[in-house]
């Protein structure tokens, strides 16, 4: 049975008609055309569909849309604003951490959450945080470099992070 739900995505309210089995990923991609969130495995193994739910990285492919009511949902489209890219996005660009780009939205969101929780992560903490985000191009080295760079910039940046 379809129900009407209201979701807060990237600080905007959306009223949606969904089936109980509709995942958040389907809502984002198919109902709202927010295709930055990717689907690869669909079973929680690859991290391509990572979104932030109340600032915590979670997997949109394993969340039912109806469970996400009253939560703050952030997708990759919600990071950059008029002032430009976030330090994490900028560092990914500059350090060559993006190749085919399919894993990048998930990576960037995971890293954004990591640096929020732990502003100066060690190499081990970075790798541990990224264990659920698969990248088949870069070999991860450039990504880890980009995260160190982003952490360094964030710690010297103004309180707004830019």
């Amino acid at each position: 049975m379809k129900t009407i739900i209201e979701l807060r995505i990237n600080d905007e309210l959306f009223e949606l008609l969904v089936e109980p089995q509709t995942t958040l990923l389907e809502v984002l991609r198919d109902h709202l055309a927010l295709t930055g969130t990717k689907e690869a495995c669909g079973t929680g193994e690859c991290g391509a569909c990572t979104v932030l739910i109340n600032e915590k990285p979670k997997l949109a492919c394993l969340l039912l849309a109806a469970q996400c009511v009253n939560m703050k949902i952030t997708t990759i489209e919600g990071l950059a604003d008029d002032e430009g890219l976030t330090p994490v996005q900028q560092a990914f660009l500059e350090k060559g951490a993006v190749q085919c780009g399919f894993c990048t939205p998930g990576m960037v969101l995971t890293v954004t959450a990591l640096l929020n929780e732990c502003p100066n992560p060690t190499e081990h903490e970075i790798k541990k945080a990224l264990e659920g985000n698969f990248c088949r191009c870069t070999g991860y080295n450039k990504i880890v470099e980009a995260i160190h760079e982003a952490a360094a910039r964030l710690s010297t940046a103004s309180p707004s992070g830019r």
Partner: protein, 330 residues
Amino acid sequence: MLLPRFQLLQPKSIEQATELLGKHEAAARIMAGGTDVLPRMKYGLESPSYVIGLSNLPVFEPVDSDGFLLLDSLMSLTDVARSEIIRQNAFGLAEAAYAVGSYQIRNMGTLGGNLCLETRCMYYNQQHSYQFVEPCFKRNGDRCYFIPKGKQCWAVFVADTAPVLFSLDASVEVLSNGSPKRIPIDEFYTGNPLHPCTLSRQDLLVAVRIPINSGLRGTAFSKFTIRGGLEFAAINLAVVLDVQEDGSTCSNARITVGAVAATPIRLKKTESLLIGQKLSDDLFNDAGRTAADEIRPIPHHGFSASYLKACLRSLTRDALTSACSRIPRH
């Protein structure tokens, strides 16, 4: 990948949840974090008519009640790994929670969900086209594809938090048809890969109860995987070491190995080797050898029994060493 159709029920309280369970019985499936049940539904291994989502239930903070640490079964694994009271009293449990899945999975998955994890084998938990030929035991068939001459299911139970709870002598609180019941953790698992937990369809796991030890104690968890992250355990191990006042003589040891059978297994021979002895690297080496001789692991996911034994030897040694290093010094 699409989910099959179902009705989603979202109770607001535990009472409502048990009521719904009693009403729908076998047609309903409980979903806490959803990281285990939803992939199974996507693979077509399960298609319940009702899914009871527990994400709206309130979650209580870990509390010290009468010498027991009481944990909500709906605590996320991230919260278990970070909780100060858990790290102080049962560090091994925090370590095990941190070893589960990935950053995202730990944010979604719950302690109770991990304890009720489905057993796994290389064949069943995947979407293979040949699954639609002749069903295996787990799909109500009569054959095992993983061990082709097998006369039974050989799936193993791989959850990381369960062995620690065995070693900590924990128990679980279950609401059965609405009435509370306490089950020691070693009676919670059946050893039957088709029904790993003793829970019936009306039962709801609500809390985990861990005795708090005020003596000199060290706990540790170790896990072997190939990739080192986002992987179910090839084998995992939990150690609880208690020492006497002198700080070096072992007064009690509880060692539990997981992922080698349909239930975690206590290594009682290895435990008795340690009790009464002075802790030393040589003793830990001996314990590793004894542990490897003590059990016959079920080969799974491409790991042979002898390989798992070799892993068990080094895991035992390493976990004992780190548990020993965590015993508080005066």
